[in-house]
Assembly symmetry: C2
Homo-oligomer: 375 residues x 2
């Protein structure tokens, strides 16, 4: 990129798998990989404060250009001095470009090579985004890692449409790359190609020629079967360069993430921990726990006996169940916080296991306790 300093250091490859340990440098701090990015779509990780994110060990969070563009709008974020200051999050921020949202949330979109016109899902107003305007937007935010506008197709997608979208995504990536200023912000490329091996390979081949700071695997977690996601990850990890971070967008559950790390993925984001948290489902070392179940009404144990988070150090399942029963906000706060901590703690353990060349053993042990077969 414009800035020639090496931003990503691959520190170690695990002996018995493709799992990688790395370090990604940004202006707002260093991210250890494999990394999980809590999702703050609208400029806040739902129900969690920045202080709680920091205390949980979050090193980077994700926010979304599409949502922030609509609300509060660029003018507000510019006036307050950028997204970090607006949210009061001093660490690194990756902003998704909004491509996925335009193709999933927005109404009446019209795509052409120039860009995409859509109606806001909030008020129906029309907007037009181009690869260039999306970069400008993320420059206003001051995102540490920017993502280019892409065209995301849903599953199943006809091959001819998937090909058009892949090629348009590439062309938009080229324009985004060109638009980007020579500053400290990083820009990743997004690879597409739906579930077609040849399209995926072609997308990767052409995108890496543009020399981005990292590469994401886009267009996954859009309804396709697990086996297909695994194939897409295999293709990506086989063809993406070793010396750049690899980001699997929107995935997933703890077993999904562990499976992808084993194949060589470095970065993840997912709404699952907070979305499940708001519904009262906790991720624990022994699998998912639905704390609202009547079975927990007299249970003095914490959500997860092995967890050191604020929720588990202070509150019983019985109490948290009561909070959900009575629709008290502290309930969804505690389970969301626990889930974020659980995901981040899982990544800490994963990194330690990779460092010690014990990832395979770690995976086996984790999945055994989690109550799932290793596959």
């Amino acid at each position: 990129m414009g800035n020639r300093t090496k931003k990503f250091n691959l520190l170690h490859k695990e002996a018995k798998s493709n799992a990688r340990l790395g370090k990604l440098e940004t202006v707002h701090g260093v991210i250890q990989t494999p990394a999980f990015m809590p999702v703050g779509t609208q400029g806040t990780v739902k129900a969690i404060s920045p202080q709680e994110l920091k205390d949980s060990g979050a090193e980077i969070i994700l926010s979304n250009a599409y949502h922030l563009f609509l609300r509060p709008g660029l003018e507000v974020i510019r006036k307050i001095g950028g997204l970090h200051k607006f949210m009061s999050w001093p660490g690194p921020i990756l902003t998704d470009s909004g491509g996925y949202q335009v193709f999933s949330l927005a109404l009446l979109r019209k795509v052409n090579d120039e860009g995409v016109e859509f109606q806001s899902h909030i008020d129906g107003f029309k907007h037009f985004l181009t690869p260039e305007s999306v970069i400008e937007m993320q420059e206003v935010f001051g995102s540490d890692i920017m993502m280019p506008l892409d065209e995301c197709v849903h599953y199943p997608a006809a091959k001819d449409y998937a090909k058009v979208a892949m090629e348009r995504t590439f062309e938009w990536a080229r324009r985004a790359r060109k638009k980007k200023k020579d500053n400290e912000q990083l820009l990743f490329g997004i690879t597409q190609g739906a579930t077609y091996e040849d399209l995926r390979k072609e997308s990767i081949k052409r995108t890496i020629e543009l020399d981005f700071d990292g590469f994401s695997v886009g267009g996954v977690s859009v309804g396709e079967p697990d086996a297909l996601i695994k194939e897409i990850i295999d293709i990506a990890c086989a063809h993406l360069p070793q010396d750049k971070p690899r980001y699997l967008m929107g995935v997933g559950t703890p077993p999904d993430i562990i499976a992808a790390i084993e194949k060589g993925v470095d970065m993840f984001d997912c709404v699952i921990p907070t979305r499940y948290g708001r519904n009262g489902t906790a991720f624990t070392s022994e699998g998912k726990l639905t704390v609202r179940n009547a079975a927990f009404s007299l249970d003095p144990a914490p959500l997860d006996k092995k967890c050191a988070c604020y929720a588990c150090q202070n509150f019983s399942r019985s109490y948290i169940r009561h909070l959900f029963n009575t629709e008290e906000i502290l309930g969804l706060r505690l389970v969301s916080l626990h889930n974020i901590y659980f995901y981040l703690e899982l990544m800490r353990k994963v990194r330690e296991a990779i460092r010690d060349d014990k990832f395979t053993e770690f995976k086996k042990e984790f999945l055994k306790n989690y109550g799932q077969n290793e596959n």
Copy 2:
């Protein structure tokens, strides 16, 4: 009471008013008075964690026997080891008896001298409370300060009914007093009498003969005009003993609280800071601020420039407005937290002013900034 140790120390009476500085000792800690008790009706101060309450300087919180009796029920709280452990709040807890709730929330109540039968406002199940069962309940909770079952009348109330309710409240207080074990829990008496001076006086005279650990002024903030509340407070402060804490139930706004402190009230509880917080109204040194207003969309200032709370130290009005606009939970968390901090900080300043015999000056300055006439 059973325990003869002096629990309340009146440390100072302000020179130019009836404002009092005191200290109330409980098993779970000392409460400096005048004190504000954040309200945790269902075993949680809405949207706020116990750690945040502690960090805000809360020395005591209030919870409600009526609500806890219905959900989660006594069996759960007993099993988990009492209310402090259930909520993970290590400091003092005052539990209201539920009298007020039975007479405002519950359905189809039938009162007789024995007690009160009512239908739960949640599921319609019938329950019967007696002065004795309400004490037993609060013994299960382990409340530091218990309140006896009382009959609360609404405004306006016919005098003959107000008299019956006052006399029944007294009789129930006598039975509660008798039922209470000889332990470290404190028991306050509730005085009633609606808006009738002679009934108020009689209620106070008879209730203080029962030698409670403190006395509350009940049946206020039930719809009567401000002037009548002030009269009721005057009567109470003139006739309640100097050496016991005085608790004005359910009051109120910052100016209401300051006015009552000036007359000699020591303790307060009110849902206003959290209820207003959830609706986006902040209490500030310059009066109420509706952060959702469009006027704040570009405002980089904190809710209150003079405030040291987490919300004001980290977030702009612009950001908090955005959180309310997008219905993000962090928005109501931050304004609730700020309001609780504001109330508790106000009490700290009030106590300092009383200590320095400068309460009148403090009041004048506070109300001037708050934008209200001194009255």
